[in-house]
């Protein structure tokens, strides 16, 4: 039987080489779009932003190289520190709240209750809403004088208006509640998937050994969900660090800058004051902080495995 061309190519050494190169070429071609867009719109801005941070970059006109001056200016800027602090505070407080709430909601929805699909739906629906809608809804609900919440509270006799959004501490509470309402569904779904993987037999066995619901929870459920908890916590931490839109749209960083987060400060510096240099520098510092956190997280998860 005569050999086909491909067979021939496959059997000769020269053919093998040609094939390898042609294979490489195919793979490179497959990679090309991704690499191109990644290079153009992720790597290039990354590098360029770093360069910008060393310049006095005016909106229109010449840019001047000024070395580390932007960074020095930032390190003396009290608003930079307060914004970073606000962000860190938010991460520290909201992360446990939203992770634990996700777990609790998943537990509730996991039970064979009548109407559990309705519950699951309701807890999850806010996630599909746009942040602007969420902010608009909650600004209206929490408005001190015209909002739903205070109108209801007045029913119960209170005279004064509670300044949900005009008092520094209450404003933070509001931001956390809004974020919880908006995003807990995501954690709930992940936990739910994890809960569904725990075999019933484990619980049956525990019951027969005399364990009550509380003990089952503590010794079976929670340990089984360890990996998911770690994952959810890490995702939550990173997401919370990047918080901007719901705060900006509801409190505008107020009252008196009490809820201004670092991303908002970068935004204001870059697009309200047109100081691209310092804004870039702050972006890099922020990125650096996030990198450290990610590395710590990676190390922790590696150790667990």
């Amino acid at each position: 039987m005569a050999l086909t061309d491909t067979e021939l190519a496959r059997r000769t050494a020269g053919g093998k080489m040609k094939r390898k190169i042609s294979e490489y070429f195919s793979y490179y071609l497959l990679l090309l779009p991704f690499v191109f867009f990644y290079g153009a719109f992720t790597l290039y801005p990354l590098v360029h932003g770093f360069i910008v941070s060393f310049y006095d970059w005016k909106i229109l006109g010449e840019k001047q190289f000024i070395g580390l001056q932007n960074y020095i200016k930032i390190f003396h800027d009290s608003v930079f520190y307060s914004s970073m602090w606000h962000t860190i505070l938010f991460v520290l407080i909201s992360t446990p709240v939203i992770v634990v709430a996700g777990f609790l909601f998943a537990c509730i929805v996991h039970q064979p209750l009548r109407g559990k699909t309705v519950y699951r739906l309701v807890f999850f629906v806010p996630i599909v809403l746009s942040v602007s809608v969420v902010a608009s809804v909650w600004s209206a609900v929490l408005d001190s004088h015209t909002g739903m919440l205070n109108s209801i509270i007045k029913l119960f006799g209170s005279k004064g208006e509670i300044l949900w959004l005009s008092h520094p501490t209450l404003a933070w509470l509001a931001v956390i509640v809004i974020t919880l309402w908006w995003t807990v569904g995501f954690n709930m779904i992940l936990y739910l998937a994890g809960l569904q993987e725990i075999p019933d037999e484990l619980y049956e066995a525990a019951k027969m050994d005399g364990a009550n619901a509380w003990k089952s929870l503590l010794y079976i459920t929670i340990p089984a969900l360890n990996r998911i908890t770690v994952l959810i916590t890490f995702l939550q931490i990173i997401a919370s660090f990047k918080i901007f839109s719901q705060v900006y749209l509801v409190t505008q960083g107020g009252p008196a800058g009490a809820t201004r987060t670092i991303i908002q400060y970068i935004y204001e510096e870059a697009f309200k004051k047109y100081s691209f240099g310092p804004a870039s520098a702050m972006s890099y510092i922020f990125c650096f902080v996030l990198l450290i956190i990610s590395m710590i997280q990676l190390r922790i998860s590696k150790e667990r495995e």
Binding site: F25, S26, L29, L30, L32, P33, F36, I59, L60, G61, V79, S139, D143, S144, H145, T146, K159, E161, L163, L165, S166, H167, P168, Q252, G253, G254, P255, A256, G257, E268, F271, K272, Y274
Partner: protein, 429 residues
């Protein structure tokens, strides 16, 4: 082989589609300009009237387009707080509109930043005479002998009140005007309402942002305070004694006499729901409030509480953004629109604002508008923020932060004064 070609073509087509769409984005306007030679001249007009006055401008644009069949003005309203950011970035990105709006006090900054251009030539070609507009607005928008703006209106703070409610608490005299001649009498009038009014607020004002700042600035000027900053020396120049007294005077209304409820964000809603007797708001709110309260509404100029009448004011003006793609035909069309709007300034004053030409101020049409004559005289007591080439303090977030902290009682007037100076000095460095 065929499949590799397939991949390549997919990739290339993505690139081509992207390039084409971006080309067409630019091409659109070129085609537009070419077409305009035969059909309508299109003028892209950006404004910042996202409040109650917006609807009036929409009407004006519509009427202009109907009465000028060879011009089409396309109005795009940007949100008030984001307008200047969007304007500047659009000039940066070479996508500037043909015509824009600016507060008179910001024109110096815009021209320093290179966002706008002088418009003497274009105005002259289209019959606009700057001597018609004599006044503060022209003064602060003319530099090096060149005009950078055409004034549309003057707007300032007013005192609004709910007539039936005010009568109920006995605070109006036989002419229907509130009974007070100075700050102390003003306070006792409000206290009277507070004592007998239950949960009706004596005075309502938006608790943060620009409103209380403007209130304070008016009081500071009424007490005789000078410029709060000097643009040439780049530093704050608040009179320490008057600065403190004025801050205290407003602070006391919030927290000592407690005649203003802090934290209001929607003062229109509160006032229209008749939960407050008096409201301090601006000329821009007259239209809306009139629709809501109808004949229950009365207004007067901002109260003179300390001797010298003064009220924070500013002026909206038309400006020409730097736009290399705008040809002479479009610029002329834009200026035709400008002339028509200012000639018929009474139309715009339906929104509540005061017109900028004497002609319109004295016109019959203006007189026919409800309530306008009640505050016509306000024009004489207006005080503007000094224009600054670097910073527009009328809406400077770090400055608002300091004031906001005072109104929610998180700081003292003394501390606030120190912080205000610090912020201004930092910003002007």
């Amino acid at each position: 082989m065929v499949n590799r070609l397939g991949i390549l073509s997919v990739f290339l087509s993505i690139l081509i589609v992207s390039a084409c769409s971006s080309a067409s984005n630019v091409g659109e306007s070129d085609v537009g300009n070419a077409k305009s030679a035969e059909m309508k001249t299109k003028v892209v007009f950006w404004d910042l009237f996202s409040g109650g006055d917006g609807a009036v401008m929409t009407e004006i644009v519509k009427e202009f387009n109907e009465t000028h069949p060879n011009i089409e003005v396309e109005k795009i309203t940007q949100e008030w707080g984001e307008y200047y950011t969007k304007l500047t970035t659009s000039v940066l990105g070479n996508k500037a509109p043909d015509l824009g709006v600016s507060h008179a006090t910001r024109v110096l900054q815009l021209s320093t930043e290179g966002v706008i251009q002088p418009l003497d030539e274009e105005a002259a070609r289209n019959g606009i005479d700057f001597s018609d507009f004599a006044g503060t607005s022209i003064e602060v928008t003319t530099f090096d002998g060149k005009h950078y703006a055409v004034p549309i209106d003057y707007h300032a703070l007013l005192l609004f009140w709910n007539k039936p409610l005010a009568e109920k608490y006995g605070v109006l005299d036989e002419n229907g005007k509130p009974i007070f001649k100075n700050y102390d009498e003003f306070v006792s009038m409000l206290l009277k309402i507070k004592e007998t009014g239950g949960d009706i607020m004596p005075l309502a004002i938006n608790g943060n942002g620009t409103h209380p700042f403007r209130f304070w600035y008016s009081v500071y000027k009424q007490m005789g305070g000078g410029d709060i900053y000097n643009s040439n020396q780049n530093k704050a120049t608040i009179d320490p004694e008057i600065g403190l007294k004025s801050l205290k005077a407003v602070y006391d209304l919030f927290h000592t006499h407690k005649v203003i409820s802090p934290g209001i964000k929607k003062v229109d809603e509160v006032f229209q729901s008749e939960k407050a007797v008096f409201m301090i708001n601006g000329t821009w709110a007259v239209n809306n409030t009139l629709n809501g309260l109808k004949d229950k509404l009365d207004v007067m100029e901002f109260p003179n509480l300390f001797g010298t009448p003064a009220v924070y004011a500013d002026s909206h003006t038309f400006i020409l953004p730097k736009n290399p793609r705008r040809d002479q035909k479009t610029a002329d069309a834009a200026m035709t629109f400008v002339k028509w709007v200012t000639d018929n300034g009474w139309k715009w004053s339906k929104a509540g604002h005061l017109p900028t030409t004497n002609k319109v101020l004295e016109s019959e049409e203006l007189k026919k508008q409800p309530l306008r004559d009640k505050y016509k005289e306000e024009v004489k007591q207006m005080v503007f923020l000094p224009p600054n080439p670097k910073v527009w303090f009328a809406s400077y977030s770090q400055l608002s932060d300091v004031f906001d902290a005072l109104w929610i009682n998180q700081t003292t007037p003394e501390e606030a004064l120190k912080n205000i100076e610090q912020v201004i000095n930092e910003a002007l460095k």
